[in-house]
Amino acid sequence: MTDTMVGRSMTRPEMREPTQWERLKSNRDWLGFWFMMPTAVLLGLFLAYPLFLGVWLSFTDTKIGRAGKFIGLENYDWLSDDKVFWLSVTNTLLYTVVASAAKFAIGLYLALLLNKHMPFKAIVRAIVLIPFIVPTVLSAIAFWWIYDSQFSILSWMLKKMGWISVNINFLGDPWNARWSTIFANVWRGIPFVAITLLAGLQTVSPALYEAATLDGATGWQRFRFITYPILTPIIAVVMTFSVLFTFTDFQLIWAMTRGGPVNATHLMATLSYQRAILGGNMGEGAAIATAMIPFLLAAVMVSWFGLQRRKWQQGVGND
């Protein structure tokens, strides 16, 4: 406010009271309101409102093409006795935990490798990101072909090496299908984790490692007591995103198995799509989708409090 007052008195020689309109034009709140308008409208109409509508729909018996009535907790009641729903919950948890852990471990390892001096480093780093660039569905289709029950290149290779005698039914057997989809998800997620952690690693001063080395620290100790503490905040953020997107994954499963065989790979997202859009039971689908929210909140909370603790340890102003 003060700077605009100064600006006006500098540019205008004669002093006069600013009109109401001029005052409004330089009012921060008024300007801020209009600058935020497009964002607020778009996010309000297509994000905040649907979020509440989704929760509301889960308490109704809405079908496609028919407005629903309020039925209280009936959808949830129904789901709590539904084996397929619980299967999808356990699948989602398994998928999230295993894939996130693997993404973290391999991603961190890859980031440490990429942080070393080597020729063509920039090119290698660029290549590593490619799985992240290519649309998930399209690479999922490629995996679908790699996992083909008859003409899988993996089965062919393993047969040539003499490790197996019959083709592996990658996507036809429940557990094979689970591991295959988890592998594809890990494959898709590693570049993101690796490149963001690499960015964090590059901020660590080499002087720290040199000092530690002189003090006789081993490679593991340098990682454990220098790299890891400095990386913790960025790890928390990256893993929150990774867990969130893995938990709500839809496209990879839909492109590869559509939840099959016999619902073995259904995640909560794919199940809610199947029930709501294909089956027409919008209310029930919305209930499944709403059931994901507590898990998501838990994941965000864990990383949030982890970050706060970190900040407290490092001093509040230091981030």
Partner: protein, 305 residues
């Protein structure tokens, strides 16, 4: 006593040369160690990361008879590549239409999101209106809301607005994914522009709008490019909304069309399918090769904030 000394010496002495992941100390590592502990695992990971694309590209140009016969032909290479699948894709299917749809939706949604994000980011960083902190936090929270829990209610909203099965529905919905990301990214860039520049412009009587368009935006061009590329890629990649809202074949985007239109029952047209996946990925890969650095800064910038 000597025992202790010896073990102490053993701990202290070789640790210097043992292993290392810092720049500047790498002369301590022998090339054999580097080969086994750096290049080998790195090579293996890169191989696994790239193999699906190689396989995709190879399948797209393999003649049909070599596709399924792995005994008479070496499956990892083909000496007589064919453009039959790609040709069929581009001239005898709806593929060009789908590509166009994807491009159109992605460009329009990105442009809309960037417009909104630039205004929002500027207001949040520089106007510091009452409640700016809170609004910034809300926008970050919006980033954490996944499409998978929104598509059902959105489908009914889009239906009520009469937008179902139109590209417009996607253009309006995609910004919910893009704006939070782009706003946070741009906020970082705007913060790095010296405030003194704006102050002196204010002194000279420039309006906020003039400051934004004539000072801030030209200085934030790298950030805008990063945001644009990243948003464009996200749009191209988006699947669940496009799958839910669009039902007419001619209105579909590439990812949805590939999954729904190319898979006809048991006759897996692998050649055409892989050609479709390849052609659908190429525009993004080409864009990416030109702007690698922007891309990386977009990805890491949004996380660092």
């Amino acid at each position: 006593m000597t025992d202790v000394l010896q073990s102490a010496a053993r701990v202290a002495q070789p640790s210097v040369a043992r292993e290392d992941n810092a720049e500047g100390m790498e002369f301590l590592e022998t090339w054999k160690r580097r080969l086994v502990f750096t290049y080998l695992p790195l090579g293996l990971i890169v191989l696994v990361l790239l193999f699906p694309f190689y396989w995709m590209a190879l399948t797209a140009v393999k003649p049909d008879e070599q596709l399924l016969d792995m005994e008479t032909y070496n499956p990892f290479w083909t000496w007589n590549p064919t453009l039959k699948h790609i040709n069929k894709l581009l001239f005898q299917s709806n593929y060009p239409k789908w590509l166009w749809n994807t491009m159109y939706v992605a460009t329009a949604a990105t442009a809309l999101s960037l417009f909104a994000s630039v205004l929002a980011a500027y207001a949040l960083v520089r106007l510091q209106f009452r409640g700016a902190q809170l609004v910034g936090g809300l926008i970050f929270l919006a980033y954490l809301v996944p499409p998978s829990i929104l598509f059902i209610p959105l489908a009914s909203i889009i239906y009520q607005y009469g937008l179902i099965d139109t590209p417009m529905s996607l253009i309006l919905v995609y910004p919910t994914i893009l704006i939070p990301f782009a706003t946070w990214l741009l906020m970082g860039y705007f913060k790095s522009i010296p405030f003194e520049l704006e102050e002196s412009a204010l002194m000279d009587g420039a309006t906020r709008w003039q400051i934004l368009t004539k000072i801030v935006l030209p200085l934030a061009v790298p950030g805008l490019i990063s945001a644009f590329i990243f948003c464009f890629t996200l749009c191209w990649n988006e699947f669940i909304y496009a799958l839910t809202f669009i039902s007419t074949t001619g209105n579909k985007t590439v990812p949805v069309a590939i999954v729904n239109e190319f898979v006809d029952g048991d006759i897996y047209r692998w050649g055409a399918l892989m050609a479709g996946a390849l052609v659908g990925s190429l525009p993004l890969v080409i864009l990416y090769t030109f702007f690698v650095e922007h891309y990386v800064s977009a990805m890491t910038g949004a996380v660092k904030e």
